[in-house]
Amino acid sequence: MKQFISWRHPARLLPFRRDDRMLLIVMGIIVGISSGLAALGLNISLVFMLETLHHWRHHWWAFLLPAAGAMLSSLFLEKAMNEGAGHGVPEVIYSVSRYGGLMRFRSSISRLVASCLTIGSGGSAGPEAPVVMSGAAIGSNIAKLFYLNDRQRVTLVGCGAAGAIAAIFNAPLTGIIFTMEIILGEWSMVNIIPIAVAAVSGAEISRLLRGNSIAFESSGSFHIGSVDLVACLGLALVASMTSLILTRMLRRMHGVSSRVSVPKWVRAAMGGAAVGLLGFLVPDVLGEGYHAIHAMIQGNFTTGLTIAAIACLAKILATSLTLGWGGSGGIFAPCLVIGSFAGLAYHRLLVFFMPSVTWVNEGCFALLGMAGMISGILQAPLTGIFLILEITGSYEVMLALIIVSALSTTITHYFEPASFYLKDLTERGQLLRPGTDARVLADMTIREVLEKDCISVPPDMLLREFLHVVKRSTRNYFPVEDPDTGYFLGMVRFDHVRPYIFNTVMYDAVLVEQIMDADVETVHYDDELADVLHKMDATRCYSLPVVSNHRFVGMVSKATLLDKYRDELKVQTTQRM
C-alpha cells in the first residue's frame, strides 16, 4: 500500500525529493507523447473530414456545411461539454498566471472535437490553439494525478503545449519557444529542459506516425539580395497593419455577434453560413487554407495582385466571422495564410512598380509575410522566426525573417500594447507573469499579513486608563469596539493622544470616543492586496484596520506587507533558477 501511495506521489520518492528535475523530465516525456498524440488525432480527423466533405463542395448548398459545422461545434461545447467557445490559449495563460496551471480535464478533448467540426466543415480557423489547450490540459491533469505542486504543474502545462505544437508542425524548437514566450512568459532553466524534452517527444511521435516531412517546403532555395532586405522594411509594415486589422476585426465581430439575441449555436451557424458564402467567391478562405500556402511558397499561385489582396482581406473576414460568431479554433493557421497572401500581394506590388529590379522569388515574400503576421499578432518575434524556419526549412532567409519579425512586433506593439492572446487578460488585470509586482501581490492574502496584536478599547474609556493601555502596547493603533456588540467603532492612533499627554488635567475629562477617528478607512480580508495598497496610498496611511462582519479582525501594515512581499518574491525568483 505504501509503495502504491509513493507512485501516486512520485515527488515524495527519495531520488526526486531534493531535485525534481529528473521527475519533470520523465513526466515531460509522458506529457509530450500524450499531447503529440492528441495533436495527431486532430490532424487525422481534419484530413478525414475535409476529404469526406470535399465531394459536396460543388453543390449550391455547400455554404451550409461550415454553418452546420460551426453549429455542431457550438452545441458540443455548450451542451455536451459545458464550455464557452474560443481558441483557448488565453485560458491556458490565465490558469498558469493565476492558478498554478490547474485546468479542467474536459478541456483535454472539448476543443479538439469542437475545432475539428468547425475547421473540417470549412470554417476559417486553425487547429493549433485547440491542440495547445488540449496538450496543456493533459499536462495539468497528469500533474494533478500525481499530486505535483504548482510549480511542477505549470512546467507540465508548458510541456503539453510544447509537445502539441511540436507534433502538429513537426517543429520542436517552435514548441519550446512558443511555450516560453507566450504560455509561461519566462525563461527559466528549471522549465526549459522538461519542456524541450516534451517538444522532442511530441515531434518524434509525429515523425513516427506521419513521417519526417517539412510542412511547407519550398521548391528551391531563396537568394535574398540587399534590395530585398530593404523591401522587408515595407513588408514588416504591411504585416503589422494586416495583423492589426485582423485583431480589431476579430474583436469587433465578437462585439457585433454578442448583440444578436439568438442562442449561441444559431449565432455560430450564421457566422458559418457567411463563411460558406464567402467561400463561393474565394475558395481559399475555407478551412485551414494550408494548400494555398503550399502553392504560394512553391511559386505556383498564379492569380494576380488584385486577387491576392482580395484573398487576404477575405481570409481576415472569414476568420473573424468564424471565430467571432462562435466557431471553435485558433488564429495560428489563419495568420499564416493571411500573412502569406499579404507577402505575396506586397511582392507583386513591388514587381508592378519596379519591374526592372531583380526580386527574390515571391514564395520568399509569402514566407516572410507569415513570419511578420505571426510576430505581429502574437507579439512574439522568436516564435514567428523559428516557426517559419522549421515549417519551411528555409534557413537562408534567417536575416530577412529577423528583420520582418522584429519590426512587425515593434510596429504592432505601438498600436496594440498587448498581443491578441493577452489583450483580454491585460484589460481585466488577470495577466500575472511570475516575478512581477501584480503576481507577487496576487499570491499573498491579507490573512498572511494580518497583525492581531492590537489592544481593543471601549469608547467610554477615560484617557487616563487609555494611557495605561498605550504603555503596555507595542503598537500605535488602538481599535475601539462596542463592548456589547463587539462592533468596530473607530480607531485611535497614538497621534490623536499626543496633544493631551502633557496636559494631566485632561486625563479624567477626555473619553476615547472623543479622540477616536470614527471615519477611518477599513479593508476586508477578502480584498486583494493590490487594492489595499492603493487605498493606503490614497489615504496616506501606513496601516489600515481589517474589519469583517462589523468586527475588528486585525491590522494590515505596509511594513509587514513589504516583509512578506520580499519573502514571496524570493520564492518566485528562486523557483526560476
Binding site: 501516486r8 464550455e83 464557452g84 492558478y99 490547474l102 474536459r106 499530486y147 481585466r428 477578502d526 462582519n549
Partner: protein, 275 residues
C-alpha cells in the same frame, strides 16, 4: 479569525429551507455567512490540486431580481448580516471563479440535477468532488429545515474519522450541544478505538464532552443507524482510496448518506483543521 460559511443561494422554496439550515448552522457556531447569488449557471472552484466546475441546475437562476432581497430577509430574521460575494475573476466570460478560502460550505445533495431528483442515496458528482478537493468541510442539509439538538460523530478509527471527531468536538464546544459517538466495531474491540484516542491525545476531551458512545459490536450497520437521533447533526469523514475510489468515497459514507435523512457535515480527505 472570523469563521465563514459559503452558501450558493437558490431562490426557491427548497433553496429557502437549505439557506435556513445554513443560517442556523452559522448562528450556532457564531460564523458569518457568505452568499453567492448565481449570475451564470456554472462556476469554477480552484482548489489546491483540483479545479471543479459546478454546473448548477436551472432552478438556481429562478427570479434573480428577488433573490438578494429574499436572502437578506431570511438572514435578518436569523439576526445575521450576510456578505454577498461577486466573482472578481473569470476563466471564461460566462464562467466565474469563486473563492475557496472559507471554513465551511453548504451544498445540497446535488447542485447539478433538478430538485425532483434529490433524494436519499444520491449525492451529485460535483458535491462529491467538492468534498474530495476542499480544505473545508461540506454541510449537506436535510431537505426540510430542522433545528438539530445534538451532534453525532461517526468514528471508525481512521485518520479522517479522527479529523471528523475533532470537528464534532469543536462544534460541540462552540454550540454547547451534546456530542455523541457512533462506532460500528466490525470485530474490533472498543479498547482499540480508545487506544487511537489516547494516541491522538483526545481521550480526555472525549470522556468529558461525549454524552453517549453508541458502540455496536453486532448487528448490521444499516440497522444500527436507527439509533442516530432524528434531530442530530451528523459529522463524518470521507476519504478516497485510489484512482477509482477517489471519486467514490468509502462505503461507510455511502451507506450513511443513503439511510439517514439528517443534516450531514462531511470532512473530506483534504480537510484541514484550523489552528
Amino acid at each position: 479569525m472570523e469563521t465563514t460559511l459559503f452558501h450558493v443561494f437558490r431562490n426557491t422554496p427548497l433553496g429557502r429551507e437549505i439557506f435556513m439550515q445554513s443560517l442556523y448552522f452559522c448562528r450556532g457556531i457564531n460564523a458569518s455567512i457568505v452568499v453567492y447569488i448565481p449570475e451564470h449557471t456554472k462556476f469554477l472552484m480552484y482548489f489546491d490540486n483540483d479545479v471543479v466546475q459546478v454546473d448548477l441546475d436551472e432552478s438556481y437562476r429562478t427570479a434573480p431580481a428577488t433573490a438578494k432581497a429574499h436572502a437578506l430577509e431570511l438572514a435578518r430574521e436569523a439576526e445575521l448580516d450576510p456578505r454577498f460575494v461577486r466573482p472578481k475573476n473569470f476563466t471564461a466570460s460566462t464562467l466565474p471563479d469563486l473563492p475557496v478560502d472559507f471554513d465551511f460550505m453548504c451544498c445540497p445533495r446535488s447542485v447539478s440535477d433538478l430538485s425532483s431528483k434529490i433524494s436519499l442515496g444520491h449525492i451529485g458528482p460535483k458535491v462529491r468532488r467538492i468534498i474530495n478537493a476542499a480544505r473545508f468541510p461540506v454541510l449537506i442539509p436535510s431537505c426540510l429545515f430542522k433545528e438539530w439538538q445534538s451532534i453525532l460523530v461517526f468514528f471508525g478509527g481512521s485518520v479522517n474519522a479522527v479529523k471528523a471527531l475533532k470537528l464534532g468536538l469543536r462544534l460541540g464546544r462552540e454550540t454547547g450541544k451534546p456530542v455523541d459517538l457512533f462506532t460500528q466495531a466490525d470485530g474490533m474491540p472498543k479498547e482499540s478505538f480508545e487506544e487511537i484516542l489516547v494516541n491522538r491525545g483526545m481521550d480526555e476531551e472525549v470522556s468529558q464532552r461525549v454524552r453517549t458512545w453508541h458502540f455496536f459490536e453486532t448487528g448490521s450497520f444499516e440497522h444500527n443507524l436507527y439509533s442516530v437521533p432524528h434531530n442530530a447533526l451528523t459529522v463524518m469523514g470521507a476519504y478516497g482510496h485510489g484512482l477509482v475510489r477517489d471519486m467514490l468515497f468509502g462505503s461507510t459514507m455511502e451507506t450513511i448518506q443513503t439511510h439517514l435523512p439528517n443534516t450531514m457535515l462531511i470532512a473530506g480527505p483534504n480537510y484541514v483543521m484550523p489552528r
